[in-house]
Subunit: 317 residues, 2 copies
């Protein structure tokens, strides 16, 4: 059964995991909290534009979560609910080094047999984000969409080692790839992030976004290089979903302005950084639930203020 209730074409489609998470950090813990890469990125994107989400859930997935997604203009036509199945479940914790997630348990459940099937209204999407899932499934999505303006993928270390060939094929077919710095190094064998980025561009995507956690993000776009700062948070409650909300803010902004010029991509990297910086302030989606568009605009301005410096006016050299 799919929850189809909308047949107008979706401009932005996001495919990936929808899950329930148990997370423990030095700041506290949550159980069976709303999680999943597609969920985080769709909610972040929904602040900029409507989103269609493709994923799978079990009987146990609370209706309140579906109501929340629906309230955020996220279309659920692509969400398959498996009767008698259990939702994807991740349990993990973070120590004081919040850059490292320690997995305690991963139960794929209904995700184990997931085959993404795009509703017809999604196949003409202009913007497609393949959140972090098995690259074989990412390829199946690419095979179903018809001439999107922009395809974007995320991935993780698990697929770099376990499904390398499929991942390389995904990379050869998308326009933009997200990766963190360790993953870019792992994929290419290059210690230098600049060399790694060039090597990934040779595989396919001319635009690469390297997430560096507390050190911000880098955008490699053809020969251009853009360095985005990170927001100086004094404390982080829960890093879960930071990369997903980053990518969601990015693609949501791009889709909202319907433009893929370098200027827009730079602004989009900052919008992604803004969304990630809010997301980590509380557990699960709790901060995004109470986030306002005014807060987003204000933090975008703070990023500008933080990164600005003047030209050299005089010839003091």
């Amino acid at each position: 059964m799919t929850m189809d209730k909308n047949t107008t074409p979706q401009s932005l489609v996001i495919v990936g995991s929808i899950g329930l998470d148990d997370v423990q950090t030095p700041e506290g813990e949550v159980r069976d909290a709303l999680g999943g890469a597609a969920t985080y990125s769709a909610i972040a994107a929904s602040f900029f534009t409507p989103v269609g989400i493709v994923g799978v859930i079990g009987d146990d997935f609370p209706q309140t979560h579906l109501d929340y997604l629906d309230s955020r203009r996220i279309d659920l036509a692509g969400v398959e609910r498996i009767s008698g199945g259990k939702t994807f479940h991740w349990a993990g914790y973070y120590d004081f080094d919040l850059n490292v997630a320690h997995t305690l348990d991963t139960q794929l459940n209904v995700f184990a047999d997931f085959k993404p099937v795009l509703p017809d209204s999604y196949k003409k999407a202009s913007y497609v984000f393949l959140a972090n899932i098995d690259p074989v499934l990412q390829l199946e999505v690419l095979n179903q969409v018809e001439k999107p303006k922009l395809t974007v993928c995320d991935t993780m270390n698990f697929w770099i080692t376990g499904k390398r060939d499929a991942l390389v094929e995904v990379l050869s077919r998308v326009d933009i790839a997200f990766m963190n710095d360790a993953e870019a190094r792992q994929l290419t064998g290059c210690m230098s992030i600049v060399k790694a980025a060039r090597a990934i561009q040779k595989i396919g995507p001319q635009t690469l976004i390297i997430k560096k956690g507390e050190h911000g993000a880098l955008l490699f776009h053809n020969d251009e290089h853009f360095s985005a700062p990170s927001y100086p948070l004094e404390s982080i409650a829960d890093p879960t979903g930071a990369g997903d909300s980053f990518a969601g803010g990015f693609i949501g902004y791009v889709a909202s302005v319907d433009d893929i010029s370098p200027k827009t991509l730079r602004r989009a990297v900052i919008q992604g950084s803004v969304m990630a910086s809010f997301n980590v302030e509380d557990f699960s989606m709790n901060r995004l639930r109470r986030l306002t568009c005014d807060e987003i605009a204000k933090r975008y301005s703070e990023f500008r203020e933080m990164a600005h410096f003047d030209a050299l006016e005089d010839a003091s050299l």
Copy 2:
């Protein structure tokens, strides 16, 4: 004996080590190459303004190095040559992770009994940079200068553990402190760099510059926060002196424009980043030896281009 030949007051004085280094990296090696924190920072600063340097050398220090320093308008009145002594010597190597220097051997030699004595022409310096040396010696320098406009210190992990009280006293007396991110964490026990910076500001310096190597640098100035990108070098020949040339470019620029406004401090962080990015392109001071002011101005512009992003023009939220 001191090499006094200039009695005009120095605007910028730099105190620290002058040495000879053996360095090995994946890109090659050098032996008895010109090194030392004061040397690197003075040469970087000399691209912006004349510098007076205070340090100690032995009989073995080659005249060609002194001639080079002299040719870069670096005043040597404060350099003491110990008859029969040997110059400070450091031997180390870097593996593929160029962020970590491995020390093979440190011979303090004439540096072991060094007591910095400022020539009279240095005591009224407006700008004083205490490069990375024993904080006890840094305090002796602070006791000799008369009302400088700006005092700046650098340090390292060795003094944080070995001379903590003296270092805290230095910090309580300077205007600006340089530290790398690991050192700021080590000194304060805070994992969060923002919390660590606030803790260091409470000790004294209202301006703190956190060096993050390949991740750029952060400037904390009162309540302001500035994030400077790093330059995307494809390869690094030798990281030795990166932090020193960074600090030297910073203080040299500030002294050259004789202004300590927030705008100038931000520009100065970028000038420091520019100098460090050139310095690591070759061994020892080899890149700085052939560097031109045009190259510096061009790279400063590249940093601007790399960090720039537009405001949000419309109300797309």
